[in-house]
């Protein structure tokens, strides 16, 4: 049995089915256009016709269609070629249209951007002919009206032409316009690489920056003026500072002189009241003794203040000559503290000196003694009866500390810096009871500065205060115990 009729039958059935399915396919624009659909249907119809002819022929029904079968076969290949080429051209056309539309949209967008730009943008040649200008640039171009390219206004022509010739360039130039006014322009130019007529074209962006340049010039002028003013004021301040320094020195000198002049009569007052109180000139009654005692005490108090003022003046004037010697620190401190112990005892205050750590340092004995004396006296002065004042000598690695600690009234944090200034004292209720000019700590600070010592304070109101003198060891002098020295 031949398979030919069977093959023809399969071909006929499949092709008819394909034709039916294709005719049922909706002819939408993208995947199946109407032209493609019906052209393909025509090609399938030709094959159906050939298959039908073959089936009828091999089934022995008729050969009538055989005469037309050749025409169908001849038509098939060109029809397929037509379908394929037609489809290809259609798709290319659609792609070209889409690209054109895209280009048109991008061009519109670009033109919007260029026209919205605050700068003038144009395409010009070296002769000043303008081939394109955005909205802003049209203020500077003239349109002849006869189809010729636009031209720049005469005032701008040379500067743009120069920028085109020198492109790429970025310059700021001043140019005289036709009306005589001088304008500043910031110009950037870039040569066009593909010019259609092969001439020297460039994209030029420029902006009138006259106002900005004027503002910058004004700013520069103002800056120079400001600099001059600052120089002038600095000179004035320096002069004022010199005058103040001179006035301060004069004041210190005056104060020292006045204090010095006070000392002689004060010594007379104190000396004669001592004589009177010693009853060398005759006996005194109780009232006279009491009143003379007031005079004597007030005189001594005033003398102390005067001597403090003189000392401060000496230190501030830098006249306190430093005389260094190897000093056994514990001994020096004890010598100063012991006499004050009597005063402390009178006031009911316990004064102790923990100075066993015998150590030798280079020090000015007198000045160091005065520092310790002022600190201890202050502590005793501002500690209530029944309180404790302790003087400690602490040896550390790089320094020796002399600490004067009391459990007195303490000092508020806001006062801790102020009390080191001359004539400053902490306000307290019993101030009248505590005599003094507020010079002790100031003298301590200045003397410490003179000797290269540090002076610190730790205090809490109501809990007492601890003043610490930091005496650094000299680099070539390690702390030496007296025992070791011996």
């Amino acid at each position: 049995m031949s398979v030919v009729p069977f093959s023809d039958s399969i071909a006929l059935v499949c092709l008819v089915a394909a034709l039916v399915v294709l005719l049922m396919t909706p002819a939408c624009a993208r995947s199946v256009g109407a032209t493609f659909k019906y052209s393909l249907a025509g090609a399938l119809a030709l094959l159906v016709f050939v298959s039908l002819s073959n089936v009828l022929e091999h089934a022995g029904i008729t050969t009538a269609l055989d005469a037309y079968e050749d025409y169908a076969e001849v038509l098939f290949v060109p029809l397929v070629a037509y379908i394929l080429l037609g489809r290809s051209m259609t798709e290319q056309l659609e792609a070209a249209e889409a690209a054109e539309e895209q280009t048109r949209r991008e061009h519109a967008l670009l033109m919007s951007v260029v026209d919205t730009a605050p700068s003038s943008i144009l395409v010009a040649d070296s002769e000043g002919n303008v081939w394109f200008a955005n909205d802003e640039a049209r203020r500077y171009v003239e349109q002849p009206g006869d189809g010729a390219p636009m031209v720049l206004v005469p005032g701008l022509r040379p500067v743009i032409a120069r920028a085109v010739e020198a492109a790429p360039v970025r310059i700021v130039r001043r140019w005289a316009m036709l009306d005589g006014a001088e304008r500043w322009f910031s110009i950037s130019a870039t040569r066009l690489t593909s010019s259609s007529d092969g001439g020297d074209h460039a994209v030029v962006a420029f902006q009138d920056v006259t106002e900005r340049v004027a503002a910058e010039a004004e700013l520069e002028e103002y800056r120079e003026e400001l600099e001059e003013q600052v120089d002038r004021r600095t000179s004035e301040l320096l002069e004022l500072n010199r005058q103040l320094t001179d006035a301060n020195k004069t004041g210190q000198r005056l104060l020292a002189n006045v204090s010095h002049e006070f000392r002689t009569p004060l010594n007379s007052i104190i000396g004669f009241t001592d004589l009177l109180l010693g009853e060398t000139s005759g006996p005194l009654n109780a009232e006279q003794r009491r009143q003379l005692g007031f005079v004597n005490a007030s005189g001594n108090q005033l003398l102390t203040i005067v001597e403090s003022v003189l000392e401060l003046a000496r230190v501030e004037a830098g006249r306190g000559a430093v005389s260094l010697s190897v000093t056994e620190l514990g001994h020096t401190v004890r010598d100063v503290v012991n006499p004050i112990g009597i005063i402390a005892e009178d006031r009911g205050i316990t004064l102790t000196c923990v100075c066993e750590a015998a150590v030798t340092v280079w020090a000015d004995v007198d000045k160091l003694g005065q520092i310790v004396r002022n600190l201890v006296t202050n502590a005793v002065k501002f500690t209530d009866p029944g309180g404790v004042v302790e003087v400690r000598l602490v040896v550390e690695v790089e320094e020796v500390l002399i600490q004067v600690a009391d459990n007195g009234i303490g000092i508020a944090p806001e006062d801790q810096k102020r009390i080191f200034e001359a004539f400053e004292q902490v306000d307290r209720a019993d101030r009248a009871r505590v005599s003094g000019a507020g010079l002790g700590l100031s003298i301590c600070r200045d003397l410490c500065g003179l000797l290269g010592y540090g002076l610190s304070l730790e205090s809490e109101p109501g809990m007492g205060s601890t003043f610490t003198v930091h005496i650094p060891f000299e680099p070539d002098m390690a702390p030496t115990l007296v025992g070791e020295t011996e």
């Binding site: 093959s7 071909a11 399915v21 995947s31 199946v32 001849v74 397929v80 290809s88």
Partner: protein
């Protein structure tokens, strides 16, 4: 022996197929491989038609009709792809 129309068919295939190959590469038809295979089957049938006039007439004739059967099946598959693509696109546009 051959008929004149069979020679014309063969010449058409020989001259137009290269042009169609170029177009085939750029077009975007869903299931185009199936259509290309169907076309090649048909073109092969044309060649076999001419050859059967010279050698192995029986076998080549059988093969010729078999290629037509294959071409029919391949066309049906290709059209089915086109149908599905069009349906999908139409439904997408409707939605």
């Amino acid at each position: 022996m051959y008929q004149e129309s069979e020679i014309v068919d063969l010449l058409m295939v020989l001259f137009l197929t290269p042009i169609m190959v170029v177009a085939y590469r750029v077009v975007t038809i869903r299931g185009k491989r199936w259509f290309a295979a169907a076309y090649l089957m048909t073109a092969t049938g044309y060649v076999l038609t001419v050859l059967e006039g010279y050698v192995a007439a029986g076998v080549l004739n059988t093969l010729e009709h078999a290629t037509y059967a294959f071409a029919g099946v391949l066309c049906l598959v290709g059209v089915t792809h086109v149908f599905r693509a069009a349906r999908t696109e139409t439904e997408g546009a409707t939605l």
